[in-house]
Each structure stands twice: as C-alpha cells, then as structure tokens.
C-alpha cells in the first residue's frame, strides 16, 4: 500500500437504531482491501463498541479509520461530557448507562474493556465537559 487509506464517518447521536452503521461499512471496506478476517473482526468490534458508546454517552461524534501497511488505526472523537474516572470505566461490568439503554442490549459495562481486549493499543484522552478521543490500533503485519 503506497499511501494510507482513510475512512471518515460522522456518528449520529440522535438515532440509536442506526448506531453501528459506520462499523458495518468499515468491515465491508476492509474486506474489499483484502485484510485478513481476524483483523477485520477485531477492528470492527472495537469500532462498533466505540460507536455505540458515542451514541449512548456523548450524543454522537466522528470516527476515522486509517489503514496503513502495518496497522489499522481507529480514532473516535466526541464532544460529550468526558469520562470522570477512566480506570473505573475500564472495569468489566461498570456502567453509567441509563436503564433505557440496557433494555436495548447495551450498557453492560463491557464496551471499553472489549475495545481494549480486541486492539493492540488503546489511548483515552478525556476532559470533563470537553469530550473524549479514543485512539486504538490493530497491528496487521
């Protein structure tokens, strides 16, 4: 691959039923690029969880996926409330999601742990009242 390939998506925070659409699209694009299925699965699950989180907690945001020769980078940016305690949020089972979200099948406190589990690196840059940027990479070489 001579140059990086970049996919950009705006994630609509208003409509839960459409949440995850960007991840489905990324999965298809990565398949077209001939990326190995195991890497595609890890990237799309991590991005999907992040996308859902942006809709649940931050009223949407943006997602960028950058494909280079040796890694796939996912950058999720929102202008939501920020994460008050990142180490707490990283614990499996800890959730601040509303009951209405749980009734939709999310808010089990597995989002951030799953994102970390399926990626090789994950950095969370968050500021209360300003928003959160999560950068994840999956090595593909």
């Amino acid at each position: 691959m001579a140059e990086n390939i970049v996919f950009h998506f705006d994630v609509d925070g208003e409509d839960f039923s459409s949440a995850g659409g960007a991840s489905v699209t990324v999965k298809k694009k990565l398949r077209q690029l001939g990326i190995a299925p195991e890497y595609i699965r890890r990237v799309s699950i991590a991005m999907y969880e992040g996308e859902i989180n942006m809709v649940i907690h931050a009223n949407g945001g943006s997602a960028d996926v950058i494909v280079s020769d040796d890694e796939i980078k996912i950058v999720l940016t929102d202008t939501g409330p920020g994460i008050p305690d990142v180490s707490l949020a990283m614990q499996e089972g800890y959730s601040t999601a509303r009951d209405s979200i749980r009734s939709l099948g999310f808010g089990a406190g597995m989002g951030l742990p799953n994102m970390k589990k399926y990626t090789d690196t994950m950095e969370i840059d968050t500021e209360l009242g300003r928003g959160t940027t999560i950068t994840m990479t999956v090595k593909i070489a």
Binding site: S18, P37, I45, E49, L104, G105, F106, K117
Partner: protein
Amino acid sequence: MKIRELKELLSAELMTDDTTLLDGEVFNACCSDMMSDVLAFVKDQGVLLTGLVNEQVVRTASMMDMVCIVFVRDKTPTPDMIRLAEDCDIVVMKSAYRAYEACGKLYTSGLVAREHHN
C-alpha cells in the same frame, strides 16, 4: 450442526429469503440479550439466540461473523432487521421456544461451544 438441522430442532420459522444458507454449518452458540456480552466472546461460525429485537442484534451478529440469529419466544424481527441480515448473509429465524429450552435442545443435540480463539 447444519443450520437446517438447527431450524428443525427449534421448529423455527425462517424469516430471511436465501434458503441455500441453510446448508451452512454452525460450530458455536451464544445466548444473551446483552449485546456487549456477545461481543466479548469471539467464536467462529456461531448462532446467536436472543429475545432482544432491534437492529443492533443484527449488527452485533455481523461484527462477530455469526451466521445465524434465532429469536426466541416467537419474537418477530422487523423488516429492516431482516433486510440488514440478508445484506450480511445471516440467516434469521424465530422459534416459539424460550431461550433456556432452545439452548437445551441445541446443546443436547451436539452443539457444544468450542473454545474461543482469542
């Protein structure tokens, strides 16, 4: 287990169009109404049994490369969900059995979850 066999065991009604996909194999099963729990376990060619009805069920199954979704307790997926599943080559069916019974039938018929690979 072939998806066709699974359908018979659960007396399930096929909701998606492509009957050729019934010849596909499932090697694992996962039963949950919490999609993040489903996303925590990578398994190959699995079937998802759930009583939750929304589009995120189909997207979750797609992310996990699952090949079949069974809605238990006769829960009926929406036309949008069925279209989305067909677009992802996922077989969708519904069964009158409750989740516990449906899982029991599949388990005792040999669909025993393999070790996950991740």
